[in-house]
């Protein structure tokens, strides 16, 4: 009897384990099924390269959203990377213990704050600030505000993984460098960071993946206009003040009332996002595994 129960349990547990594959399969199947209509009727080319998204008039180009996602992620990396890598080096090599006790929990807390709260803070504090920048049509909502918010959101991710990578560098390298008469900083720059390079790159890539997938905070501060971001006036820098829409925002904002081909196009947006993130995450994982060998 006990043996019977034992076997039975094994099969049940096996099914649980297969549950993960089952769910992935379901997600892929459903998303694909719903999006097929869009790919067939609109065509991959028009969908991906078309800049006009006006469902009411039958235009379903998501290029503007792709550019929006890419630009806001780029902005987040530009703003956040120096802080993240600097912070990682600080925590791993420079910080006295008491400072570590402050910064680490701070990062943990930053990581735990819900994205809507970041979005709210962005709306209430950052957007009015950005609106101060003198440029016509500057509403405060746009790439700059969104990049700032996103930078803070991906900071903990990048800092943590980069710090681990730096700590993983064997002590002998550091000792060898110091014994040759190099300063601590020279050791960090010439030996430790190069040795931790693939781990740091993996951290950045994972941050990119996280940024691409962010939805709610983006909807709240980026403006959601379906335009390809452009400078507001002659000054090319004002492109950061342009409103935009991300792939994630496109999905969240329109899915509830979209029907038919429109709905299918939203799912197609989801497929594009899914593929993008899988590529990003896989390359990060490959890099990290390469380092371990």
């Amino acid at each position: 009897m006990r043996k019977f129960v034992d076997r039975g349990v094994q099969y049940v547990l096996f099914l649980s384990a297969m549950g993960a594959i089952f769910i992935v399969f379901l997600i892929l199947f459903f998303t694909a099924r719903e999006s097929i209509q869009a790919f067939r009727e609109i065509g991959m080319a028009d969908l991906l390269i078309g800049t006009v998204w006006r469902p009411g008039q039958g235009s379903f180009g998501i290029l503007a959203m792709i550019i929006g996602s890419v630009l806001v992620t780029l902005g987040a990396i530009i703003l956040g990377l120096p802080l993240a890598v600097g912070g990682a080096i600080f925590l791993a090599e420079v910080a006295p213990n008491w400072m570590r006790e402050i910064v680490r929990p701070a990062l943990e807390l930053l990581a735990g704050i819900p994205s809507v709260v970041y979005g709210l803070f962005g709306m209430v504090v950052l957007v009015p600030l950005v609106r101060q920048i003198p440029a016509s049509r500057n509403t405060g909502f746009g790439l700059l505000s969104a990049s700032m918010v996103l930078a803070v959101m991906i900071l903990p991710t990048i800092t943590n993984i980069a710090e681990d990578a730096i700590r993983a560098v064997p002590r002998q390298y550091k000792e060898g460098s110091l014994a040759l008469g190099a300063t601590h900083w020279q050791t960090i720059v010439r030996v430790i960071i190069p040795a931790a390079r693939s781990g740091i790159v993996a951290a950045i890539i994972l941050g990119v993946g996280r940024a691409l997938g962010e939805t709610m905070a983006m909807i709240m501060v980026i403006g959601n206009s379906v335009i390809v971001p452009q400078p507001l006036n002659d000054n090319p820098l004002t492109i950061v003040l342009s409103q935009a829409r991300t792939l994630t925002g496109n999905i969240a904002v329109e899915i509830a009332y979209a029907t038919g081909l429109h709905e299918s196009a939203i799912f197609a947006t989801g497929v594009v996002l899914f593929v993008l993130i899988i590529i990003v995450n896989s390359s990060a994982r490959l890099l990290m595994r390469g380092e371990a060998t």
Binding site: L13, S16, I27, T31, V94, S115, V117, T159, I277
Partner: protein
């Protein structure tokens, strides 16, 4: 000074004294670089204080007992509190955990105890298991809006009759998919950490594999597994995108699992975007932050108990 003299004494014999030392320059560069590192760290802490501080301070103005106990008036009105959202959040957490925990823990048990190292599975089973592992990794990287989209397509639309469309049930099912990888990973780790000796001791006494797992391994791995569940609770509380498209936006508390509602996180969104009631949004946000902090503290406490237990108290 004495120090300069010492270095010069030694340096004189070196390479005909021609090599001028760049040591001062290097020290200056180091000081500068370290100052920048300090700046980065301080800036990080400042940003945290800014965001959290602002929300807590602004939110505290609005939060009082009435705020917590009255339901929101709904529509575009900013009146009322957040009582129904609190209730909805709790329901959602319980339902999602009830779905995801058994599935996730079960999967982890299989992966570690039946298909782990030294179990000798082969052929089709082994292949399926490696696909399953890959599947978990994949799931962990999927952004939450995709889960929302999928949840919408499957649970809200296709299975409308069963789930009631936008409802607690749809949202929990979608949310369960989201947190499944978290629970599986934490449980796997916890199970792997249980010393082999425990299992071998039990089996040597004539217990079956399942009896061993149920009575010896699981209790030992409990803190780690619980950590995983609490982590996913935190996830559910702060997640918005998934539930945005599966829960509907009703400001009423759901009377059954086939009804919809809004969580606190969703309420923040609606207050900010639709109603423009920023003070109340801050208040709700403040409650959210406090909740998350308490959940994090709980996790830390459990982890500490965990490491104490492994080291033999």
């Amino acid at each position: 000074m004495a120090r300069e003299a010492s270095i010069r004494q030694i340096g004189v014999r070196l390479s005909g004294g021609a090599q001028k030392s760049n040591i001062a320059q290097r020290h200056v560069i180091q000081q500068l670089a370290f100052a920048l590192m300090w700046l980065a760290a301080i800036l990080t802490v400042v940003v945290l204080l800014l965001v959290v501080g602002y929300v807590l301070v602004e939110g505290a103005r609005v939060v009082d007992w009435e705020f917590l106990a009255t339901p929101p008036r709904g529509g575009l009105s900013a009146e009322g509190g957040i009582s129904t959202t609190l209730v909805t959040t709790v329901y959602l957490v319980l339902l999602t955990a009830a779905i995801a925990a058994p599935l996730g823990i079960g999967a982890a048990i299989y992966l570690v105890e039946y298909a782990g190292e030294g179990q000798g599975t082969s052929g089709l089973t082994a292949f399926l298991v490696s696909v399953a592992r890959f599947g978990v990794e994949l799931l962990a990287g999927v952004p939450s809006i995709i889960f929302g989209l999928f949840g919408y397509a499957l649970f809200v639309v296709t299975l409308n009759a069963l789930t009631g469309g936008f409802s607690l049930l749809s949202a929990s099912l979608a949310g369960a998919c989201l947190v499944l990888p978290v629970i599986i990973r934490a449980s796997e780790e916890a199970l792997r950490a249980v010393p082999r000796a425990y299992r071998e001791g039990s089996l040597a006494l004539g217990a079956t594999k399942w009896q061993t797992i149920w009575q010896v391994v699981l209790p030992a791995a409990a803190p780690g597994i619980i950590t995983g569940i609490v982590l996913s609770v935190g996830r559910i509380v702060s997640e918005t995108a998934v539930f945005f498209v599966t829960l509907g936006g009703s400001h009423h508390a759901p009377q059954s699992i086939k009804q919809g509602g809004r969580t606190m996180a969703l309420h923040v969104y609606y207050l900010a975007m639709d109603t423009r009631a920023f003070e109340k949004a801050m208040g709700t946000g403040a409650i959210l932050i406090v909740t998350i902090v308490m959940i994090n503290l709980a996790i830390n406490l459990i982890s500490r108990r965990l490491t104490a237990g492994l080291k033999g108290r």
